[in-house]
Chain length 396, copies 2
Amino acid sequence: MLRRDLLGGVATILPGAALAQATAPAAADGIVEKRVFEMASYATRGGATIPNLRVGYQTMGTLNPAGTNAVLVCHFFSGDSHAFGRYEAGGPAGYWDAIIGAGKAIDTNRYFVVSADCLVNVNVPNARTVTTGPATLNPATGKPWGMDFPVIAMRDFIEVQKALLDSLGVKKLHMVTGPSNGALQTVEWAAAYPNFIERCMPVIGGAEFDAWMIGWLNIWEAPIKLDPNWRNGDYYGAGREAPLRGLAEAWKIVTLHAMDRAALTAQGRKVVEGQNPARNINDQYAIEKWLDERGMARARTSDANSFIYMVRANQLFLNEYASYEAALARAPHRWLVIPSPNDHVFLPDAMREMVETLRRGGKAVQQAEVRGPLGHLNGVVGMAPLTEQIRAFINN
Amino acid sequence: MLRRDLLGGVATILPGAALAQATAPAAADGIVEKRVFEMASYATRGGATIPNLRVGYQTMGTLNPAGTNAVLVCHFFSGDSHAFGRYEAGGPAGYWDAIIGAGKAIDTNRYFVVSADCLVNVNVPNARTVTTGPATLNPATGKPWGMDFPVIAMRDFIEVQKALLDSLGVKKLHMVTGPSNGALQTVEWAAAYPNFIERCMPVIGGAEFDAWMIGWLNIWEAPIKLDPNWRNGDYYGAGREAPLRGLAEAWKIVTLHAMDRAALTAQGRKVVEGQNPARNINDQYAIEKWLDERGMARARTSDANSFIYMVRANQLFLNEYASYEAALARAPHRWLVIPSPNDHVFLPDAMREMVETLRRGGKAVQQAEVRGPLGHLNGVVGMAPLTEQIRAFINN
């Protein structure tokens, strides 16, 4: 959580698996169970083979006999399956708990909601996140894969989720949705399996991953590779230290990039208590110390190599299609696109182009905006006001 | 220069001392001479003393007998005094040569134009840049200052320029102007010496340096400190290597941050020739290789500690005033504020707030926009279309 004293009363957050608890409305009673989906072998889109693939997932609601009332929720870059519900009474709620649950916008009395941990999920140290990635033991060597893990594309996320949904008896997705990286998965799903999907609701993302986006994600990951403890990804095991400083810097960039200046206005130009940046070059402003601390806290709960693989999966968004336009032309008909007007990751003009591209392809596209001081993150923690628009889209 | 093959015909650039030559209109004939201004001792605003201060400067035009026709041009973060003219026939032109020179918007037939290298200028390896900063020899030790160099505030830039202008016989500035960091200096000048200034023209900057801005500049500098060669700034001298990898990453962030996706659209999703990012985790997209190469090229022509000191000088913008509003209330009356509408460093809404703050303070504020695909950098390389608006402001 972002300290309230820092942000002057703006209740806000760091991207993270359990970030919404402070801002979620009155808790749902829904307790969810984390389960594990396994595949003995998975062939990646890049032509490699991963034995013993495991990813975590959770569901809420009941699948109808026809298997047609499922809603798939895909998580953001730093998240996991915990989009809704609580793992125990009084525990933290999922990041979209405000809009998923009994009687909520995505009503679990009507829909069977599924969310899974992605491959190469960053939250390796979190015991509840189940993923397969560079930190996983390679059965062929008995050691963690490290940077020998196969490249994972966004499309691989979809293929594993498709196998999971098949195993659950889902015949059709009533809707696929998710924020940020989850919106990219929504679009990747739409291009890959248009006949399997009725509705798409990408939130704060889904626009073309062009050179600007590819470059920014390179910048996100770059500090990891500067950390001498990274050792080309070979930092697992006794006597070695993880590249926490580099990973912390990476999370600092993500943290600020995913916010907006409006969230920090109250913080202004405060300095760290007892320090004087005007006299001592190593003294800091409060925002610097806050970024350092939050970055390091997030580094301790994530894995550096997995961060690098997640970056690549994002860069490979729609990599199998001739163009963004060609990919979207394949997609299902019905869309609700939800940008954040002060988003500095997926820029408003890129989101407008996405809507125009969908419309040129003949799709029926509704739009809504998620607003608030948090920029990109509005789409993770500020969704409650969109309840009626989402309800109307999903129920009609 | 950004390679034209990469950007698909968008003639564009990296922030740098001599970046405008490819895009500047027909060259001025004006040859300028780089000179050196020296102070035996300078007392910083933070209370330290710097002996043997030296900064470079250049002028064009003739000061009138009253000393009232001077225009001061302050440079951007990575720039130096080379705003106009050429040091030799056929050499590169200054970054604002399109609007400064005989018959141009800032007409050197009428005005005496001055530009100086700032303290802690990053372009230490450039023989034409003359600065005093962490790479300078400390006379007390005979070694470079390193991180023992006193903190320099934006206000110190102004004090040294004021001493220079006094030495040249300037009695009043007809106008003070500059892009980005130069715009911050313009506003700092306005608050410090309102009666010395007739007109202020901040370009792509000058908005409040709030937590968002302080945080971003922390992120710019952070990779330097991750590089093991940085050694807390003690990397000068035989047998030591400069932290080029960290500095290159810092410049990569600045480079992308100072552009807009519109500049990179043509580059799209090209991969490095012969590489396959979908199969090999270390293979790259073309934009990544380009950022790496440009970052490293810029690192080789700059100094890492000076980058850190420049960051702090920016963070200390208007640090002596109770508030941004209080500082601007002191300023002279006449303003022409020129934001870039696709600027990702000084955001359009922050620039709007700046104009509103000036107007609340009773100032006469004109506005113009500098447009183009380059985002923030439009204000460095795209100023020619504003010639008539600038001319009208400066001549009336």
